[in-house]
């Protein structure tokens, strides 16, 4: 075997070499320890209620907290003068599917310190309940209703926990969950049939229904005036 042939069959033993150098994923830096002052302070104050943290997309700091301690942590984040997150920009949910917990995500901003923070809470599918933060930030009112509507997370202590985007009596589930089919649970024909068969009386008060019955009786009774069948003019 000549020298230049040496090593030619190494690939058989070792398997193919990767053709391109494997690039490190640019967004997530799993080893990076967040130096965000709030996350450091959170860890110091709440200890085991802080479940994890990560720096995503280069400079965005995310912290996972224990759902049981949500309200205390949120209140501290708003009221502590070093944190002062007075703006609750967004409350939303994530469903990864495959039985993974549904997460509630809070995007916060402090207009005093110009800090942004993202707080996430993982809720197991059999305990989809979390404290409402409406009493701290009024902006969370509709946002939490939307999370309830689309994900089925119910917020303890919310003043008006009803659906907001879907009809209030929608009974097919929560559309943004991964187990909800894209086109809905029923066919278009079935949806039409259900819409036509619903009890519309429940939308009216007894007063209005009584008036309607009176009109009905007048129209159908023996004293009802004969309907005009001929219209004068064109």
């Amino acid at each position: 075997m000549t020298d230049d042939m040496r090593g030619a069959f190494d690939a058989v033993d070792q398997g193919p070499r990767p053709s391109d150098p494997v690039a490190a994923p640019s967004g997530r830096l799993p080893a990076a320890v967040s130096l965000h002052p709030t996350i450091v302070a959170l860890g110091r104050r709440f200890g085991e209620a802080v479940l994890g943290q990560v720096v995503n997309a280069g400079d965005q700091h995310v912290v996972w907290i224990d759902p049981a301690a949500t309200f205390d942590i949120m209140q501290w984040l708003r009221d502590d003068p070093d944190q002062a997150y007075d703006m609750m920009s967004d409350v939303t949910g994530i469903d990864y599917g495959h039985g993974r917990p549904v997460e509630v995500v809070y995007q916060m901003f402090s207009t005093r310190h110009k800090h942004a923070l993202r707080v996430r809470c993982a809720l197991p599918l059999d305990a989809m309940e979390i404290d409402s933060v409406v009493s701290l930030w009024r902006s969370a009112d509709w946002l939490e209703r939307e999370v309830y509507d689309l994900f089925g997370v119910s917020f303890r202590g919310h003043p008006n926990m009803i659906r907001i985007l879907m009809p209030f009596d929608y009974d097919e589930g929560h559309p943004l969950r991964k187990d909800f089919p894209l086109r809905g649970r029923y066919s278009r024909a079935e949806q039409t049939r259900r819409a036509l068969n619903q009890e519309v009386d429940r939308f009216y008060t007894e007063d209005v229904l009584g008036q309607a019955r009176e009109v009905q009786e007048v129209l159908e009774g023996p004293t009802a005036p004969p309907r005009r069948t001929e219209e004068g003019g064109a």
């Binding site: 967004g27 920009s89 939303t92 207009t111 902006s139 939307e146």
Partner: protein, 426 residues
């Protein structure tokens, strides 16, 4: 039954006071019955099919006489679940969904979405692309504010500003059309760049618009800013304090009108906004009139930014030079094997993303527009795509703003918030 003595100044009183002032007539005092009219409340429905609700919005109002005691907004008539649809589309296929949300300023939504995805993937766009996007976003800020200006003026009875502002909007529609071929559904951006470079002569067309637009704006300003009817309808109506405005989640001109100095372009700058020379107008009273003043000034500032951006618009490519992100040119795709493979892979598979999530906020015309994307490792579709809707949060404040005002003021308050239902219902 209450009895009340009323002294009424009358004009035909022969004993006219000094300087022509009216004096109460000694002949006129009389007793009137001031009956207690009872406190039965009335429920009325405004919308969903009503031009003054600025979209398919239904406001259920409880009235005491003509005073609003309670407002319950009912939304969801336009719900089309864009966020769910996004989970079934590759990153680039989502772009057309974004401009269907805010059809009054579509380019801001196109840009905000791709900026978020690029941040998640760690893509740095070219300098020309950055400046071009700044131009498009500022242009559409004017576009959105002009619609607000026209429709709000018409709500308080001023018809002329409506015509003037829609005439100017028409010229931006033309700019959209020259750029993308569409007037509303622009879909101008792609991950890593734009659908196409700015066409030849487009910047001149925009400069021509910028030359004459301030005159129209000044004309509308003369018609409204010191107009007594307009002032009477807007000053002191729907006022909110600074601390409350933050707590209720106001953003954008609505928040700044209440005296809070928060502008995403200044406080969380993106695309080198810190290097542009512009002011952020801040109001004092948080009422409808201050919101009007803030938006008027923002349009003037956008003109300033547009001039600077047009001056610094560099040459060079508009898309990133990475075949795994940007599509090859059509000629290359048809004649070069490598390019065809890249084209095929990009269209059929999409661009893989790293695991993680990214929230990217820009200053939209309505307020802080956030795009939140969540991806799995190597995912070519989002696990979750969320729009932080500025109008949605701004509209949720309307029960607080309108209570205690008259029904006519409710219309003004609703108009002054600058909502777009396509984005509220999503």
């Amino acid at each position: 039954m209450a009895q009340k003595t009323v002294t009424i100044p009358v004009t035909r009183n022969p004993e006219m006071g000094p300087g022509g002032r009216l004096v109460p007539s000694p002949l006129m005092p009389f007793e009137v019955e001031n009956p207690d009219l009872g406190s039965e409340r009335m429920l009325i429905n405004i919308g969903p099919q009503h031009p003054a609700t600025h979209g398919v919005l239904r406001l259920v109002c409880e009235l005491d006489g003509e005073t609003v005691t309670k407002v319950v907004p009912d939304i969801g008539y336009l719900h089309s679940s864009f966020e769910k649809l996004g989970e079934y589309r590759t990153w680039n296929q989502i772009v057309p969904l974004t401009d269907r949300m805010d059809y009054l300023a579509p380019l801001i939504y196109n840009c905000a979405y791709v900026m978020s995805v690029e941040k998640l993937m760690g893509i740095e766009v070219t300098e020309r692309c950055k400046v071009a996007r700044v131009i498009l976003m500022e242009m559409d800020r004017i576009f959105g504010h002009l619609l607000w200006l026209g429709t709000t003026a018409i709500d308080v009875g001023a018809f002329t500003p409506f015509l003037y502002s829609f005439q100017e909007r028409e010229r931006i529609y033309d700019l959209h059309e020259t750029l993308t071929g569409a007037r509303i559904t622009t879909s101008a951006t792609r991950i890593g760049g734009m659908m196409a470079d700015l066409p030849e002569g487009w910047t001149d067309q925009l400069r021509a618009f910028l030359r004459t637009f301030p005159d129209t704006l000044a004309e509308i300003d003369r018609l409204l800013t010191r107009n007594q009817i307009h002032i009477g309808r807007t000053q002191g109506v729907g006022a909110i304090s600074a601390a409350e405005a933050i707590n209720y989640g106001f953003t954008g001109p609505n928040l700044r009108a209440a005296g809070v100095d928060y502008d995403v372009r200044k406080d969380r700058p993106y695309y080198d906004y810190e290097t542009y020379d512009f002011e952020v107008p801040i109001g004092q009273h948080g009422d409808c009139y201050d919101r009007y003043l803030c938006r008027m000034e923002e349009m003037r500032q956008s003109v300033r930014i547009l001039h600077q951006a047009l001056d610094r618009l560099p040459g060079g490519p508009i898309n990133v030079e990475d075949p795994n992100i940007s599509l090859p040119s059509k000629t290359d795709a048809m004649s070069d094997m490598e390019s065809m493979i890249h084209h095929f892979k990009l269209i059929m598979e999409g661009i893989p993303a790293p695991e993680g999530d990214c929230y990217y906020a820009v200053e939209g015309s309505k307020g802080e527009l956030g795009m939140y994307v969540v991806a799995e490792e190597g995912g070519t579709k989002p696990v979750r795509w969320r729009i932080r809707p500025p109008s949605f949060v701004n509209l949720s404040v309307i029960p607080r703003l309108a209570e205690g005002h008259l029904v006519a003021d409710l219309i003004m308050i609703n108009a002054s918030l600058d909502i777009v239902l396509g984005e509220i219902d999503r």
